[in-house]
């Protein structure tokens, strides 16, 4: 083996290690998001050099961080770009497949898991809605529907998100399209039922209210019996409040490595696989208090979705890892036949280049939770655990419907329609004075850890 060839092997291995280094840095940033807060994490992410292959992952992460921070335009720009990349990567790449089969999985362009592909529409819809563009949010929900149809499989709920269906229902409902809203709520209900997951109170009320309003008597009674409650239609002097709450930060992928040393031929073979460590996620809710009181309930456990997505890929990843291990073993043997030093170097390079693809959209919340209450139009509503008081709907939501977004990562809460500029929207601890975000000067912000 000549010097040039050895140098090439060294260079190639170094490049692969650099790639793994960037993924490791992103994972480190995600791991510290809960304590560092979205703003510091965003600044940290922007310092990490990423290759074109990781661009979608980076944009998904920066997009969701900007959403937490209320930078609607920035969030939309990043998420739209990520969406376009993921869409264009649906075709199978010849070169990336070859590289993945011979080196490692990180040489594929990140094109998102089924959950990512749907959730990007959810995050975009929230961005459009909170920036005052409900029609833009509606567009995203229609796109989410197309994506979920594309991903749909018999006997599987992979790529089917109850949170996306619920949000679509909410957007149709605030647009006055009750028939479409009911269809979306029904789909959310079906997804949760198929998974055997509990139906959140907000979805129960949505289904009851709309089946009653649309005059579907039998369906209403069936839901009423199943949920043990009645519809809660607002009176003429009442409005409806919807809460979407992001809790926690989703886990990172790690890698499991299985290395086998074959003493007869003096060769080390490694097989690596991405995996999620077991997590005992304990969701924390947020209570919406007005004319009624309701604690947010989980509609999407993203910790579970991420693990299901990975499980669905496992067989394919294992097959690729096995093929790669055989190919690398042969390469080492060939190098050994030309000289001991070349063989050792090739063995080091093949083991070092074997990296699991631990990239993921890892700045998402652990869960998406929802709540829905009615309250008098002239009555303020509060978020109990935050000591945040939102002004009465009569001051900013003449249609009697308001959607509030809150995250455990930040004290700031956002609303559609935008809250009027008044100090009551500030958390008590924040009123001493913090920087105001661009969209809603009344709303303070701090990157506080929960």
């Amino acid at each position: 083996m000549n010097t040039q060839r050895l140098a090439l092997i060294g260079l190639f291995s170094a490049l692969l290690l650099l790639q793994a280094c960037a993924a490791w840095q992103v994972n480190q940033a995600a791991a510290s998001l809960a304590t560092a807060g979205p703003r510091a994490t965003l600044a940290r992410l922007e310092q990490i050099p990423t290759s074109g292959r990781d661009q979608a992952q980076l944009l998904l992460n920066t997009g969701v961080l900007k959403l937490y921070l209320g930078d609607w335009q920035g969030s939309r720009d990043d998420l739209e770009q990520a969406k376009a990349i993921m869409s264009s990567m649906q075709a199978v790449s010849v070169t990336e497949n070859f590289a993945a089969m011979t080196a490692n999985e990180t040489l594929r362009t990140y094109n998102g898991t089924p959950t990512d592909q749907v959730l990007v529409h959810v995050m975009l819809a929230l961005g459009y809605l909170l920036s005052g563009d409900p029609d833009g949010a509606r567009v995203e929900m229609l796109q989410a529907d197309v994506t979920m149809q594309r991903l749909a499989e018999e006997d599987s709920t992979l790529g089917q998100l109850a949170s996306a269906r619920f949000l679509a229902g909410l957007i149709y409902e605030v647009n006055g399209e009750r028939d479409d809203a009911l269809i979306s709520y029904r789909r959310a209900y079906n997804i949760l039922s198929d998974r055997g997951e509990p139906i959140p109170e907000a979805l129960q009320i949505s289904l009851l209210n709309l089946t009653q309003r649309q005059g579907f008597r039998q369906e209403y009674e069936a839901f009423s019996k199943r949920f043990g409650r009645q519809a809660q239609l607002p009176a003429t002097d009442e409005g409806e409040w919807f809460l979407i709450y992001f809790d926690g930060v989703i886990s990172n992928k790690t890698e499991t490595r299985l290395s086998v040393y074959d003493g007869e031929v003096d060769t080390m073979v490694s097989v690596v696989m991405p995996h999620y460590a077991p997590v005992n996620y304990q969701p924390r809710g947020l209570t919406l208090v007005g004319g009624q009181r309701q604690r947010s309930a989980m509609i999407e456990n993203l910790e579970v979705r991420a693990r299901q997505d990975l499980d669905a890929q496992r067989a394919k990843l294992l097959a690729a890892a096995t093929v790669r291990a055989v190919a690398k073993y042969k390469m080492v043997q060939e190098a050994q036949s030309k000289g001991d030093f070349g063989g050792i170097l090739m063995n080091i390079a093949t083991v070092a280049s074997e990296q699991a693809d631990v990239r993921s959209w890892n700045m998402l919340p652990s869960s998406v939770q929802v709540a829905r209450i009615t309250s008098k139009l002239n009555q303020p509503v509060s978020l109990a655990e935050r000591a945040v008081t939102l002004p009465p709907q009569s001051e900013f939501a003449p249609a009697g419907k308001a959607i509030v977004l809150a995250s455990s990562l930040i004290d700031q809460v956002y609303s559609w329609p935008s809250l009027p500029p008044q100090p009551t929207a500030l958390p008590v601890a924040e009123q001493a004075g913090t920087q105001s975000p661009e969209e809603n000067p009344a709303q303070g912000e701090s990157d506080a850890a929960p």
Partner: protein, 195 residues
Amino acid sequence: MKHWILILAAVVLSACATSVERVASDSTIDLSGAWNDTDSRLVAEEMIQDALSRPWIGEFTGRTGQRPAVIVGTVRNLSHEHINVKTFVADMERALVNSGRVDFVASRDERGEVRDERIDQDLNAREDTRNAAGQELGADFMLQGQINTIIDAEGKEQVRYYQVDLTMISMADNRKVWLGQKKIKKYVKNAKLRY
């Protein structure tokens, strides 16, 4: 051998370079299958031709002796794509105004700035050049509309159907005096393989 390597390198590098070519603004270039300038132009052409050939303008002019004044209301995008509806609405405005048969008045979004300027004139402009408030031309008709889509997808294939509906509503009595419609259907096949 070295020459071949150089030629190959040149070919590869040239493939990486950005290239820009001027094309006619009415040429049809479909890249992704999504709504594009050609669709916007087709809608504008259809709507302009239809709006000018229907009797609502003549009827109004015959009855009042004046050109109808139109205000652009909401054109809602209820489609699967983020479509800028302002492009074909602007094309329509231009064609109808240039026909000399219709006046357009500033829309809700546009007139705020004009009114601010008028207030500013009151303070800062010479008296003989000031424009008084309360002299605006009221609209006789409002143009409203929506874009709807139906997407049918299977694997890498998609049929995208767009329907644009515009309505001219009389401000006096809510009569719908003109209904314009344009339908566009596309069959999109996405690549199964990429480099």
